[in-house]
């Protein structure tokens, strides 16, 4: 097991180098002079030159790349070209917001998706199976934008229960320690803030969790059905093992392997890709940071954020692989 993890880790290094190269080149592939886009209609030649100089755009590409790597090695993600704000400090605040939202969404998705899939599989073609699979199909194809607005409309305007957006009510103050609102409010014993933070998670969590929930339900069902057809299940049944035990002890563990993959992939995707949800719910996370940065051609922010997201994704994949090995000891690196 230890050796397996080491080998997987070694494989991560070339991937990360590739990621830095990709993050660096990506921005140079977008058409248009970034200095001109940053300045817009009122650019003067002197100002254009000033910005190009500050962003280091006058150097040859490979020098720019080496400088980029050098800064990275020192743990410096640079400063925003627009606001001059240090990217590292910004990410320290943004990432917890995105992780909190992603965890809430995945929690919802797993709690509902996995049981729904299991029940559907064990009662194939039952009414429950039909209904949950139709819902899952709807969930997969739901436009998040529309769903988010509907959730806000129903949840906060019609029912008046949930706050429409943001992470915390404007009148609530919370001391920032980890920037995870849930953790911070527990550490400081601020129960009002805890309740408010949880309340704020419901609508965006639902919006973000719907698609993974549907995917997980469908995946669990099909994977479960496949396992249930295997010989060893038939043998177990022939031995007289109860249906409950067959499903939860014998079938589930094997059926979960592809589900874990999906959960891992979805988790990684949500961490970097919650742009729509974060926009609709005014959630100050990484998705909005990168979206705004791309729109403003804010090079340093785009590069660093892509890099951090991709790195996270790589490590989540690594975790998924390790979980495989744990779930099925036969999986080995070769």
């Amino acid at each position: 097991m230890g050796q397996y993890i080491l080998k997987r880790l070694a494989l991560v290094i070339p991937v990360l180098i590739g990621v830095t190269l990709f993050a660096f080149l990506l921005i140079h592939l977008i058409p248009g002079d970034p200095a001109r886009i940053i300045l817009g209609e009122r650019a003067t030649e002197a100002q254009l030159e000033q910005i190009r100089e500050r962003l280091g755009l006058n150097d040859p590409l490979y020098i720019q790349y080496l400088n980029f790597l050098k800064r990275l090695a020192q743990g410096d993600l640079g400063r925003s070209a627009i606001s001059n704000n240090p990217v590292t400090a910004e990410l320290k605040k943004r990432y917890p917001a995105t992780i909190e939202l992603t965890l809430a969404a995945m929690l919802l998705a797993i709690i509902v998706g996995v049981p729904a899939g299991i029940i559907s599989a064990s009662k194939q073609y039952s009414l429950f199976d039909h209904i949950s699979m139709v819902l899952a199909l709807l969930g997969v194809s739901m436009p998040i934008f529309w769903l988010g607005l509907m959730l806000i409309w129903v949840g906060s305007l019609v029912l008046g229960i949930f706050p429409p957006s943001g992470r915390l009510g404007v009148e609530i103050t919370l001391q920032s320690i980890t920037n995870f609102h849930i953790i911070d409010s527990i550490i400081t014993g601020n129960w009002v803030a805890l309740k408010d933070a949880l309340w704020h998670l419901v609508l965006p969590g639902l919006a973000l969790g719907t698609i993974p929930m549907a995917i997980i339900a469908r995946m669990t069902r099909s994977s479960m059905l496949e396992v249930l057809k295997q010989d060893y299940i038939r043998t177990a049944r022939a031995k007289g093992v109860s249906q409950r035990l067959v499903i939860y002890k014998h079938a589930l563990r094997n059926a979960l392997i592809p589900v874990v993959t999906v959960v891992g992939l979805q988790f990684g995707l949500l961490l970097g890709g919650a742009v729509l949800t974060e926009t609709i719910f005014s959630w100050p996370g990484v998705g909005r940071l990168i979206y705004d940065a791309i729109m403003a051609r804010d090079f340093p922010v785009v590069q660093s954020t892509i890099l951090v997201i991709a790195t996270t994704f790589v490590f989540i994949n690594l975790l998924v692989d390790i979980t495989y090995a744990y779930l099925d000891p036969r999986i080995k690196y070769n």
């Binding site: 003067t44 607005l149 005014s282 100050p284």
Partner: protein
């Protein structure tokens, strides 16, 4: 006797009813302002975006300021000023007894520190950004300003190398808000997130992309503030922001979808405001190319385009059709200009007179990005294409990505191009000189993308630039607009008036054309 008492009663009644219409402002409460984007930074000298100025306007004062409803200049931190005969030395007399939010005194030395920080690139606190607006408004670092001087504790003087007509309007811009020198030294590069000024609200907290919280400055030198707290929230999605306004989680929402305007009109709890325009969207005809060097052709095109229909269809009616390059909220606007009426027959006749009875073919460049002055460049180009086809002018619509578009139009590669402008300082010079003077028709870096070169206009604009007499300047700009109208380098299309929704209990809120209004006089009637 009886008569007198009757009169007295009537007078008393009149007074009471008048008092009823102008309610006394109530103190207290929190106002939450919902907008689409967050501020870039709160050091006004180092930002250029409207969302930053919306907030810095509340924290900092300027030496002179704009009137609440237009761009006329009135006293600010300086209660009065005078200018030397040659227009090069400006003396400002400062209000006494004002303190910055950090308790340090406001005086001529503080003003001098701010000016020198903006204008000298080697100043130790010329950091945290590019000081873009200083360079832009004063022509470099130090640019047109020779030096500044603190004459005594409350007298401050600016020495210019040349007279500068728009000088006062420049100083009223939110980017020249006076900040606490102590705070600038204390925070250095991080001053942009620790702003300290003298105005009605004190900075409290900023959670990026979420909210900026300000609290009342009870020692404010001007009127108010009536609010205890003022919070700016960024809610990027227009529909979500509007739902929040309806739900009451915000009190004012700007950047509304045009469709939501109807809902506001119907809802007694909400009130619709239209922000006076400070912009212009236009079609520039490139005079370096045939046949646009012919004034008859340019006038024909002016007659051929149906601006009312464009405003109705693509600005959802939330704009005024334009007849001048200047928007009406800027002083000096010439309302006597008779616009070229929409008249295809007349347009055809003019074309014939110009020697193009069968029309011609040309490229029509469409802006690739939405701007307040041009919500959908592509669709507006299509409407213009259809209008021009009627008089026989065939057009091919051309577009590029935004950076390339700007670069190529500045280089004059287009025949006709859509573009626009949002004013900076509310001075006519900022529209007329920047966009239409021959000085700015340089290939490669043109602001005047019609490449319109009129010596007569140039003379007027330069004269106005060098005068510090507002009355004289007004006359010059009135005349300038007549010349521009005659020469028709553009088809001015529209001045957009963005809608703002607010709760009905918000009182004394007046949106400013610069999109950064001071909220010290706003109060809540609830």
């Amino acid at each position: 006797m009886r008569r007198t008492s009757l009169v007295l009663t009537l007078v008393a009644l009149l007074v009471i009813s008048l008092a009823g219409t102008t309610m006394a402002a109530k103190k207290g409460g929190t106002l939450i302002f919902g907008r689409g984007g967050d501020s870039v930074g709160l050091d006004p000298a180092n930002v250029t975006d409207g969302e930053s100025f919306k907030v810095t306007r509340q924290i900092y004062d300027t030496l002179v300021q704009f009137k609440r409803e237009n761009t006329e200049v009135i006293p600010g931190l300086a209660h009065s000023w005078d200018v030397s005969e040659d227009g090069k030395v400006w003396t400002f007399y400062l209000r006494e007894g004002i303190k910055f939010h950090d308790g340090t005194p406001f005086n001529a030395e503080a003003v001098k520190f701010n000016f020198e920080r903006w204008m000298y690139e080697d100043h130790p606190y010329h950091i945290g950004g590019d000081f873009a607006y200083w360079g832009y408004m004063f022509g470099g670092y130090p640019g047109i300003v020779d030096h500044v001087e603190a004459v005594d504790e409350y007298t401050f003087r600016v020495y210019l190398k040349e007279p500068l007509g728009p000088f006062l309007n420049n100083l009223a811009m939110p980017c020249f808000g006076i900040a606490s020198p102590t705070a600038i030294k204390k925070y250095g590069e991080d001053f942009f997130k620790n702003p300290v000024g003298t105005s009605a609200f004190i900075f409290e907290e900023w959670v990026r992309d979420d909210k900026i919280v300000l609290r009342a400055n009870h020692d404010y030198w001007g009127e108010g503030p009536y609010l205890d707290k003022l919070i700016f929230r960024s809610i990027p999605d227009n529909s979500a922001r509007f739902i929040e306004l309806q739900a009451g989680t915000i009190d004012i929402a700007d950047g509304l979808n045009p469709d939501d305007v109807e809902f506001i009109k119907r809802d007694p709890n909400l009130k619709l405001y239209l922000r006076p325009s400070m912009n212009v969207g236009y079609l520039a005809m490139n005079q370096m190319k045939e046949p646009f060097d012919n004034v008859l052709v340019r006038r024909a095109i002016n007659h051929a385009i149906n601006k009312e229909a464009i405003v109705e269809a693509f600005y959802a009616g939330l704009a005024q059709p334009a007849k001048n390059p200047l928007p009406p909220s800027v002083w000096g606007y010439n309302d006597n200009i008779e616009p070229y009426e929409y008249n295809p027959a007349k347009a055809k006749e003019l074309l014939k007179e110009a020697g193009y009875p069968n029309g011609f073919t040309a490229d029509l460049w469409a802006m690739p990005v939405p701007r307040p002055y041009m919500p959908d460049g592509r669709k507006i180009a299509e409407a213009i294409q259809a209008d021009l086809a009627v008089i026989g002018i065939k057009t091919n619509i051309v577009s590029f990505d935004w950076g390339t578009y700007l670069q190529k139009t500045e280089a004059g590669e287009h025949d006709m191009a859509l573009l626009g402008w949002t004013g900076d300082n509310g001075d006519p010079d900022n529209f007329l000189y920047v966009l239409l003077d021959k000085d700015n028709a340089k290939v490669g870096s043109a602001g005047n993308i019609a490449f319109y070169k009129s010596d007569e206009l140039h003379e007027l604009l330069i004269k106005a630039q060098q005068s510090s007499d507002k009355e004289e300047r007004t006359k010059l700009y009135m005349k300038a607009q007549e010349i521009i109208h005659q020469d028709a380098p553009w088809v001015p299309i529209a001045h957009s008036t963005p809608p703002i929704g607010a709760k009905a209990y918000i009182k004394d809120y007046i949106p400013h054309p610069t999109s950064a209004e001071k909220l010290n006089q706003v109060w809540l009637d609830k």
